[in-house]
Amino acid sequence: MKSLTTRLAVGIAAALLVSSMAFAQTLRWARSGDSLTLDPHAQNEGPTHTLAHQIYEPLLHRDMAGQITPALATSWKALDDNPNVWRFQLRKGVTFHDGATMTADDVVYSFERAMKPTSAMKELLTSVKEIRKVDDYTVDFETNGPNPLLINNLTNLFVMDSDWAEKNGASNPQDVAAGETTFASQNTNGTGAFMLVSRTPDQKTVLKANPNYWGKGEFPLQVSEIIYTPIQSAATRVAALLSGEVDFIQDVPVQDLKRVSGQSGLKVVTAAQNRVIFFGMNVGDSDIESDNVSGKNPFADIRVRKAMNMAINRDAIKKVVMREQASPTNVIMPPFVNGWNQQLDAVPANDVATAKKMMQEAGYSDGFSVTLNCPNDRYINDEAICQAAVGMLGQIGIKVNLDAKPKAQHFPLIKNKTTDFYMLGWGVPTFDSHYIFNFLVHTTTENRGSWNGTRYSNPALDTKIVALESETDLDKRNGIIADIWRQVQADQIYLPIHNQVLNWGMKDNVQFDVQPEDQPHFKYLTFN
């Protein structure tokens, strides 16, 4: 009798446990690197935005198919009588995680914050002259000239609570390059589907579902808790997925695709990513410190740059390092972007003999040595690509010392312009060339060119880049874009490598499409 009672009790307990598990679905998520900060305007970086997108929301965002979808704004249009003004209707009944109501004041505050000097997002708003509150749920964006593509720029611009930010001394975005930490870089108060529970940077971040989320009924919202663990080592990350320790990894190492998709209970979902990987060189300074040539800068010589571009065997990188999971390119623009064409994309022949001859003509027949800075936890096989480049450049006499570091130490080198040769990857959330130009080609000024680590400065191009922001005739605009690309290609300020392919690995019961920007929005995820 007693044993029967015990068995019943155990049975009931087990049943309760199983049923509670069915309702409360925890998603254990891993990828190679962590978000760099919780401040929504301090870093313009993919993984940082990924975490921010769960907690904060923009006016509009790109959904899992990459389509622009309303978020905190319900509708938007340019005013009929004034094409310089875009009017946004805000969603009513949205509250921040601390209970405060989201109104036009918060939106204006957040955008003004995103335009401040320490913001990493300011290049996206260079065409904006002023943001005005019309009433509690209407906001006007006035641009310097008619900007038909403004809304494309707003997908990663998050709205925060003005009172909360003011109260906690977070009115300015955290200055990451200066090593600052602020209240808003460690705490959050957004409107998103998930709320921050705890966070230890580079170790573990826990989020739970927001019980008052406005999107109830609109989105699946099946995830009740997210446990995010950055796992840098490829083998450890895969082992975690294979052993069932995590449910979803965002970057299955290319060497393990077969193993993961071959294991029952797991699957790999693949799609081309809107991200290009390339090297940048200091082409602007007259002398650089990281080389062994005194008195001049070898990268300033176009022949050296052209020779380097020829020495890189993109096909070998694709076949061996990336195991076919990449598409080699000769332009720092993924095919998703307006302005792309096959001619720009076509990869030059890998021709070591000609490259050597060009080095000779440039006066570097004995080569030179230089340091290459490379991240080791950001892009797919980033360090292995850099190592391969070391060998390829070695063949034309350039002795490259590789310095590979985690992205948290690597990116400030580019922002602070303390590297002369570096690897960078660029995703294009606006799907338009202007985004690339404004960040990577425009001369570094107060609000433009912040990721242009090349020191390249071409005033004629700068004028054209700014002109793009107010050109309403799309054919003419595309003409200017083509012009700018012609110059960028001719000057060879970057050495493009390839566009990445995304491989998301997950348990069979997880239903999740690959987002082309590598931005999973977990409110869309379903279990079956």
Binding site: S233, A234, A235, V238, A239, L242, P253, Q255, D256, K258, R259, S290, N313, A316, I317, K319, V320, V321, T371, E383, A384, Q387, A388, V390, G391, M392, G394, Q395, G397, V400, N401, L402, D403, A404
Partner: protein, 308 residues
Amino acid sequence: MNGERGAWQRFLASDFFYDFKRSPVTLVSFVIVVTLILLAILADLVAPTNPFDPASLNLMNGFTPPMEPNAFTGETFLFGTDDQGRDLLSAIIYGLRVSLFVGLTAVILAMVLGVSLGLLAGYRGGWIDSLIMRIADIQMTFPSILIAVLIFGVARGLLPPDLRDELAISVLIIAIGLSEWVPFARTVRGTTMVEKEKEYVQAARLIGLGSGQIMLRHILPNVLSPVLVIATITLALAIIAEATLSFLGVGAPPTEPSLGTLIRIGQDFLFSGEWWILLFPSVTLLALALSVNLLGDWLRDTLNPRLK
């Protein structure tokens, strides 16, 4: 009979050599260690390619399985190649050189430091003894690998970035050397305390020799045999410490891989079926560390009269 020949024959007739001959395990270990050391010294002559010269690598050779022709280039490699197309056999031989060099120099550093401090502590006694031994006690409470990581991290932080790769090996040696001196100091201190009460030391003191001379000339030779044993065992530890540090990514740079770096690289391909990248460097490290350790054990047993 001439002197040199006599010494050699005396060696052949000694108990030491007799023990050595009688122990097959020791013989095998000795052959392995000598072979590996010779390979490391003669790396430039023995290795088919120079793996430290990135310009000589062909990426298309990457991931070639052992003894099978590469699908693109048709080249064949005895041990296969790694992810960058490096011939693994050459990489192992050169890696062995890095590992052995770091291990040996680290042990010499630890030995010089430990023996001097041990002699000083044992001979002088008093507060010097207390100070040195308390530092040793404190250091003993931390795992030595942790101390090595700490020293390595601090040193790297202090160095200018462009010197880091060049000095990585020196920093590694200092880090391991400083983390392994304690056993030397403890043993030498103990033996010194016994020796300094013996008549020959008293006699030396009576004829007016300085303490430095007594320590170096009279006591040191009598404490050396345990030091030799510890040095051999520490060598195995140092080789493993170097491999551990490099495996953790804080040691030798990937462009000049040691055995530990090679194992770290190989680890990434554990699940994907490219077993040789991990297996061959690991087996080499295992053979080296095990053989040195076995030699050390044998040496300890042989030199300890109580175990006879």
